[in-house]
């Protein structure tokens, strides 16, 4: 899908939202800018806009539009493009939510477009409050059709489908404690080889070959605990396993504190480890059926440190509406492979 069609679709959806009779309640627009830079030489600038608008007292619309502007080249690109290579990725999504009794239904879609990849996804979900709103059960399903292109060719377009489902339970345990547990399953069929990375096979560098099916299982457990003195603890754990024999653990800890109300500071740490897929080797000999040089499929550990500041001045910020929040965040990612990345984010959340 061309970028112009994508923009047209987003504006059409936004216009549709504007044409419906509205009851304004918790409408807001979020503007965010992210800058990512890593030790491979990749710089990605990502502005995005996220609009949430109530249509009636029981329905709402969410529209999101974002761009990844990749302004430098990764080491996988530099092998063939010593002078650097530029790319961009555009994503747009929209979701309509309708509340019926204690149940919320949501349906939406997402499209993504980049030079050697395209995707379209249909997403549906539902959630229901039980037990005096102390328990919430949620579930959802998505179906995506993706089209990776066999780079450097522009016309060898492959097909890949992804089906994804999840179920979660959220429970308040006390006036200061909430927990959530979830399970997610995803099945991916079709072409899944990374065409940008070459594996070392019999002293030659070849595009890899990965299996055409992959089933992913994820369980998640999360805790939110209010502590004394306007301090909050968050703990998230994710356990992952897939049929390529990749296993991973991710443990995230966060501590937030409010300084007098308008200023919220958060410090976070995330530990992550993963095993390699069953067909990963540093180099291959003979005639291996599957082989890869994808850095995402090798075993490694990593740590992510983050600091976040959110300011909500009483009289608004930068002349914008009261309740406008300014957010600044810095993250530092380090893997034991030597890879490092720094991410800076700034954002405004504006109520209207």
């Amino acid at each position: 899908m061309g970028a112009s069609k994508l923009r047209l679709g987003v504006f059409a959806i936004a216009a549709l939202g504007g044409s419906v009779g509205l009851i304004r309640a918790q409408n807001n627009i979020s503007l965010q800018f992210h800058a990512f830079q890593d030790t491979r030489g990749v710089t990605v600038l990502t502005p995005d806009v996220d609009l949430n608008r109530d249509l009636t007292d029981r329905s709402s619309l969410r529209v999101k539009f974002g761009v990844d502007a990749i302004t430098s080249a990764s080491d996988s690109c530099v092998r063939c493009h010593p002078g650097g290579e530029y790319d961009r990725r555009i994503t747009a999504s929209a979701a309509l939510t309708q509340k019926v009794g204690a149940t919320k239904f949501s349906i939406g879609g997402e499209v993504g477009d980049e030079h050697w990849y395209g995707s379209k996804a249909l997403i549906a979900s539902a959630s229901r409050d039980l037990n005096g709103a102390n328990t919430t059960i949620a579930g959802g399903f998505s179906y995506a059709v993706n089209h990776p292109v066999r780079h450097p060719s522009d016309d060898q377009i492959e097909r890949q489908t992804a089906k994804n489902g999840y179920l979660s339970v959220t429970q308040t345990l006390s006036p200061t404690t909430a927990v959530q547990a979830g399970y997610e399953i995803a099945r991916i069929d079709g072409f899944q080889t990374n065409v940008f990375l070459r594996a070392h096979v019999n002293d030659e560098f070849l595009v890899g070959n990965s299996p055409d099916t992959r089933t992913r299982h994820t369980i998640m457990a999360r805790l939110r605990q209010a502590l004394p003195a306007d301090t909050f603890l968050e703990v998230d754990y994710r356990r992952y396993h897939d049929t390529w024999q990749l296993d991973s653990n991710a443990l995230t800890l966060g501590l937030s504190h409010r300084f007098g109300g308008p200023v919220l500071a958060t410090l976070g740490y995330r530990f992550y480890d993963q095993s390699g897929v069953f067909f990963y080797q540093p180099s291959y000999t003979g005639s291996p059926r599957y082989f890869t040089a994808d850095f995402r499929l090798i075993p490694f550990d990593s740590g992510l440190y983050s600091g976040r500041l959110e300011v909500t001045p009483k009289n608004g910020v930068l002349g914008l509406a009261t309740g406008t929040a300014l957010m600044l965040e810095y993250e530092r990612y380090r893997a034991d492979t030597g890879f490092q990345a720094a991410i800076f984010s700034a954002g405004l959340r504006i109520p209207f």
């Binding site: 996804a121 994804n164 939110r224 991973s248 937030s256 919220l264």
Partner: protein, 76 residues
């Protein structure tokens, strides 16, 4: 370190699952002051979560756990 984290994590999962299955806690509306704070919500900033999961997926072999996903990317 990895085994320690895995064991701690499994313990957290077990506790959270047991607590969720109990389902008998009743917090009254007038007791929800602190629960309604943004810090007590799971993923209050969906745009931030979306960006975070996107760049992590571009570096790591696993993904998921935050609800249904879109079509991913062809990240190099």
């Amino acid at each position: 370190m990895t085994r320690f984290v895995a064991r701690c994590s499994l313990l957290i999962v077990f506790c959270a699952a047991a607590a969720s299955l109990a389902g008998c806690a009743t917090v009254q509306p007038w007791q929800r002051g602190r629960l309604s704070d943004r810090c007590m919500q799971f993923d209050p900033d969906t745009g931030r979560v979306s960006y975070m999961t996107h760049w992590q997926e571009s570096r790591e072999g696993s993904s998921g756990g935050f609800g249904v996903q879109g079509g991913g990317c062809g990240c190099k």
